[in-house]
């Protein structure tokens, strides 16, 4: 069961232990870890424009319909690998309920318990406190290895950067924006990119209105503002909450309300309902998963959707 990370000390400890265990597990290419492999996968997906050269900036997992199913697949793979690394088959990814934190005052949002020493720690370049603080003298310290730069993907060695509320975005999405997004009835709409309207996907991704998912990346700042954003372990907790919101929406609207269908034109490659989800060349766990494989059984994974149900009322 996926739980609110601040509601359960065990879920919190398991998550921190789990990401550190993946950081300590070499990938097939021993220059980086299995954790870093996920960072690489995300960055490579970001670089894969669908179709190549499109003017909307749509890639295999962002600014298009596949945004939600691709990230669901990514989280499932990550969750399963942590469960294995911890030897805890029941391990479930926790989520950061930024919907709840968004209802706090501005100062309290930056000081919320998620940023405490016993949770994700605080800001810094590099981060100076909490479980992901950088200490070059400690061989087990949290080290960033993968960067997406103008000239491609690079192997680096440095601490994690995080700049909560310092990158011009001082507030999380407000509950009014969340409520409006939840009430959207259409999964997505032409032209299937960041200008789509009406589109639940596009509003949740954050290209319309106040900005939902995108705004959370900007609120955290530092590495979270780049294609290598999964370098910050808050990434997976953030996206688990995005997934929870989609699960709630699916429960309301029917699990298989996805668009576009397979009959859509070829330039929607990677975004039609039976298209394969992008993974890295040589992915050792590639399963040939397609978008529609991500529709089943959404809401049963989460401890609670009731806070979303409370918001999703027409007033």
């Amino acid at each position: 069961m996926r739980k609110d990370i601040m509601s359960d000390a065990t879920a919190r400890a398991d998550y921190i232990d789990g990401v550190k265990a993946l950081k300590a597990t070499p990938a097939d290419d021993p220059r980086y870890s299995r954790y870093d492999w996920y960072v690489l996968w995300h960055a490579a997906t970001m670089m894969t424009m669908t179709p190549p050269g499109n003017s909307a900036g749509r890639n295999a997992a962002h600014s298009g319909p596949a945004f939600l199913p691709w990230h669901r697949y990514y989280l499932k793979r990550f969750e399963a690998e942590i469960a294995q690394a911890l030897g805890k088959p029941d391990f479930a990814l926790p989520y950061w309920n930024w919907v709840a934190d968004g209802a706090l005052g501005e100062t309290d949002q930056g000081n919320a318990p998620i940023w405490g020493l016993d949770a994700m720690g605080g800001s810094g370049s590099p981060v100076a406190s909490g479980p992901f603080a950088y200490d070059p003298t400690d061989p087990d310290t949290w080290v960033v290895r993968i960067e997406l730069r103008p000239s491609g993907l690079f192997l680096v060695e440095r601490g994690l950067n995080r700049m909560i509320q310092q990158a011009g975005i001082r507030r999380l999405p407000n509950t009014g924006s969340v409520a409006r997004t939840l009430l959207r009835g259409d999964y997505d709409a032409a032209p299937w990119d960041r200008s789509s309207l009406p589109s639940f996907r596009n509003e949740l991704e954050g290209w319309r209105g106040e900005g939902m998912h995108n705004r959370v990346h900007g609120f955290v700042g530092g590495d979270m503002g780049f294609g290598h954003s999964p370098n910050d372990p808050i990434f997976f907790l953030h996206h688990c909450n995005v997934d929870r919101i989609w699960a709630f929406w699916q429960q309301r609207n029917g699990a298989a309300t996805y668009l576009p269908l397979d009959s859509a034109p070829a330039d929607l490659m990677r975004h039609r309902v039976s298209d394969p989800l992008y993974t890295l060349p040589g992915d050792p766990g590639a399963s040939g998963a397609v978008i529609s494989d991500m529709f089943a059984d959404p809401s049963a994974s989460y401890d609670s959707l009731s806070d979303l149900a409370d918001l999703a009322v027409v007033v």
Binding site: M47, A56, G57, S125, L148, S151, H213
Partner: protein
């Protein structure tokens, strides 16, 4: 940062395969007429043409996978932001002092 390694993975369709020029075509109907606005952009920093992986949408806003969670109102804003966030990727650091290296995103 001098020993950072380019991973050279066969991913993405921008890298190496495209030049530094970005062509944008915006088309729409207005007053019963079909309009097409075509433009080609090239960004030079310190005289060097750079591939910044951007595209210009039908609404004129600019996006780049280098700053993937933002759509910029102008290409000028995007270029400034990318230079600010990748200080080491645009030619040699200024003379006189190594300073402490903060990495990216700071």
């Amino acid at each position: 940062m001098t020993d950072d390694t380019h991973l050279g993975l066969p991913v993405g369709d921008h890298d190496m395969s495209h030049g530094t020029q970005v062509t944008s075509v915006r088309s729409f109907d207005h007053g019963g007429k079909a309009v097409e606005i075509a433009a080609t952009y090239e960004v030079k920093v310190n005289g060097v043409a750079r591939q910044l992986h951007f595209s210009v949408g039908q609404d004129g806003k600019v996006t780049s996978h280098l700053r993937p969670y933002v759509a910029y109102d102008s290409l000028v804003d995007m270029v400034k932001d990318i230079i600010d966030h990748y200080p080491d990727d645009f030619g040699p650091a200024p003379q006189g002092g190594h300073g402490d290296h903060h990495g990216h995103g700071g």
